[in-house]
């Protein structure tokens, strides 16, 4: 068809518009399965959950409409505030630390190790850092439970063997230590993800930028700050936002490692909602907690969408 573009052009144009107009309607059936699924699995449940948040319900019988009482109760509930305060700690462990440390490690791997010891060395190390990402979170929980078991676990028995009995702790069972311990496990879990994203981002940086800076006598650290961090801004923004979303949603590691305890030491909003739904069966209250979380996350999604739209325009 490219052989006679000129002669066929007028004809093509009319056909195109006609086809387009017909095909617009023709494409609607393809939306149907997705639309029905979305309606049943996302839209209806989300609206139902928001409505439940205005009721008092134990899961049996009929919900009683109580207006905004659940939300008023939330404002005065220490556990609710504690769960969001812990979310901040989880964001540090899952978003901020892995982004900072990951950025540095990937720059070292990509810019320092690979040119000196070969790309294969760098990719092998990258794969090692990535491994925790592929382990199911529940399995990671069993793994760390085994390592941190207070009496027979490896961490404590190694400390005792080294004569450091005083440092052997009940890592997940001590209210003061549980949250920091969970945070360390989460950093271990997340680091590989940020390294892989950042390293692939670095491959797109124009090498001549670094070469020019090198000729100008810039040190490795200067080039890291001025070129790498600067050029990777889009990746950093996306990684920070997506990992923050993941941190706010975190459930499985908490459920498996501590069940929010001891006391409320490691409670997070999603676990608090789950607990109200299925343990104390205060369904309306659980719905209110999850609605607050949903609003917060939707706001973040909007920011992400806006960022990506802006990216598209630049590209």
């Amino acid at each position: 068809m490219t052989s006679q573009p000129v002669t066929s052009e007028p004809l093509t144009r009319t056909t195109t518009t006609a086809t387009r107009r017909r095909s617009r309607g023709g494409y609607l059936p393809y939306l149907l399965p997705g639309a029905i699924g979305f309606l049943l699995v996302v839209a209806v449940p989300a609206v139902a959950n928001a409505w439940l948040s205005l009721t008092s319900w134990s899961g049996v019988g009929d919900p009683t409409f109580i207006g905004l009482d659940n939300y008023v109760r939330l404002l005065g509930d220490d556990t609710f505030w504690k769960s969001f305060a812990n979310s901040v700690a989880i964001i540090i462990a899952m978003a901020i630390l892995p982004t900072g440390v990951g950025l540095f490690l990937s720059a070292v791997l990509f810019d320092f190790i690979a040119p000196r010891f070969g790309g294969r060395t760098a990719t092998t190390l990258r794969a090692m850092f990535y491994l925790p990402q592929i382990i199911p979170i529940a399995v990671a929980g069993v793994l760390w439970g085994f390592l941190l078991q207070p009496q027979t676990g490896i961490v404590n028995s190694s400390l005792r063997a080294a004569g450091l009995d005083g440092l052997a702790q009940n890592w997940l069972g001590d209210p003061a230590l549980a949250l920091p311990t969970v945070m360390i496990i989460l950093v271990w879990l997340q680091l590989g993800y940020t390294i892989v994203i950042f390293m692939s981002g670095m491959a797109r940086i124009d090498p001549s930028l670094n070469e020019a800076a090198d000729l100008d006598g810039a040190s490795w650290l200067q080039r890291f700050w001025v070129i790498t961090v600067n050029e990777l801004r889009p990746e950093i923004a996306v990684v920070l936002l997506t990992t923050t979303v993941a941190a706010l949603k975190v459930f499985a590691p908490i459920y498996v490692l501590t069940s929010g305890g001891p006391g409320n030491a490691t409670i997070v909003p999603s676990y608090f909602a789950f607990y109200n739904f299925f343990t104390t069966t205060q369904v309306g209250y659980g719905a209110a907690i999850s609605t607050v979380l949903a609003v917060l996350l939707t706001a973040l999604a909007v920011v992400l969408l806006w960022l990506q739209k802006r990216e598209d325009k630049h590209a």
Binding site: Y30, V41, L52, Y130, G145, A203
Partner: protein
């Protein structure tokens, strides 16, 4: 037209497979005298060793589990968890395997993850076809809705889903989990595929239409073959995400015979505290399938992590 245009890799600006192309100069023997940038100074070796130590620490939990899973309990007690095994005893593994019916859990996980991967890819492709190629009105709005759908916390959907599943008799069936997860993951797939299909070469579609191909024909014999690499990456991700999924199966599949590997192991935590060898065996047995996926799909995974960036 080029097929590279429709792979997710170029769509997100990532490099080709491997992700780590180095300039050729690095392996050239004459690199030695070139500049400070490629010299293997003693300092550079120290940096390499430090990174290697860090990487080994990252792997240590898994290595320690493997080391201790094959010990006899007496060996563990006598020589401690850090000693190399002096016995080779698989009782920990076999007794754990049998006590939780791990074969059954594996089959459940394979069935659920496989079904979700296939259904979610089909759903994503159909919707993305209407949005990306059909350019239906309000595409951006539709995309925004899908974006919100995969950011919503599952806790904000679970109670109504639980009530609905009970009402239609799907509670505690694998089908309920398959439907819910396929729809949730297809929200992400639609989002990704729409932007990929949006850049689909228009002249190819035009040629097909002029040949009289209907919309389904275009989808089946043109769009699908050309986007196959993306679809494979998506299916791989859906499979692994579903395998690791914890919350939805935890709530919707309470009975033992329907449980997945992830939920079965999560429920085990703390059960074997008095028996470190069995704990290590449980951890190792749970890690193994993931390790197999990693080795099999490593290229796909590394290539596609960027598409996962949005999740």
């Amino acid at each position: 037209m080029s097929t590279t245009q429709v792979t997710p890799v170029s769509a997100t600006g990532a490099p080709p497979a491997g992700g780590n192309r180095r300039p050729p100069r690095v392996r050239r023997p004459d690199a030695r005298g070139r500049s400070a940038a490629t010299r293997r100074s003693p300092g550079a070796v120290v940096v390499l060793i430090a990174l290697a130590v860090l990487a080994v620490i990252t792997l240590l939990p898994v290595l320690l589990a493997a080391l201790n899973a094959v010990k006899s309990p007496a060996d563990y007690v006598a020589n401690g968890p850090l000693a190399l095994p002096r016995s080779f005893d698989l009782t920990g593994i076999t007794s754990f395997w049998q006590s939780v019916d791990f074969t059954g859990k594996l089959l459940n996980s394979v069935l659920i993850s496989g079904s979700v991967a296939v259904i979610a890819v089909v759903l994503s492709l159909l919707t993305a076809y209407a949005i990306g190629i059909g350019r239906i009105r309000g595409s951006f709005g539709v995309l925004a809705v899908f974006m919100v759908a995969f950011t919503l916390p599952q806790e904000a959907l679970i109670y109504p889903l639980y009530v609905m599943a009970k009402a239609v008799g799907l509670y505690d069936t694998k089908l309920s989990v398959i439907i819910v997860l396929a729809v949730l993951q297809s929200a992400f797939g639609t989002y990704l595929l729409s932007s990929v299909l949006h850049t689909f070469p228009a002249e190819v579609l035009e040629a097909a239409r002029m040949d009289g191909a209907g919309t389904f024909r275009v989808l089946w014999s043109i769009v699908m073959p050309l986007t196959r690499p993306t679809l494979v990456v998506l299916a791989t991700f859906f499979f692994i995400w579903t395998w690791n999924e914890f919350f939805i199966p935890l709530v919707l599949l309470p009975s033992n015979e329907n449980q997945t590997v992830s939920v079965a192991l999560g429920a085990l935590f703390g059960q074997y505290t008095s028996d470190p060898v069995t704990s290590a065996a449980a951890a190792l047995v749970g890690v193994l399938p993931a390790l197999v996926f990693f080795l099999v799909f490593q290229r796909t995974l590394m290539k596609g992590v960027n598409i996962g960036a949005v999740k």
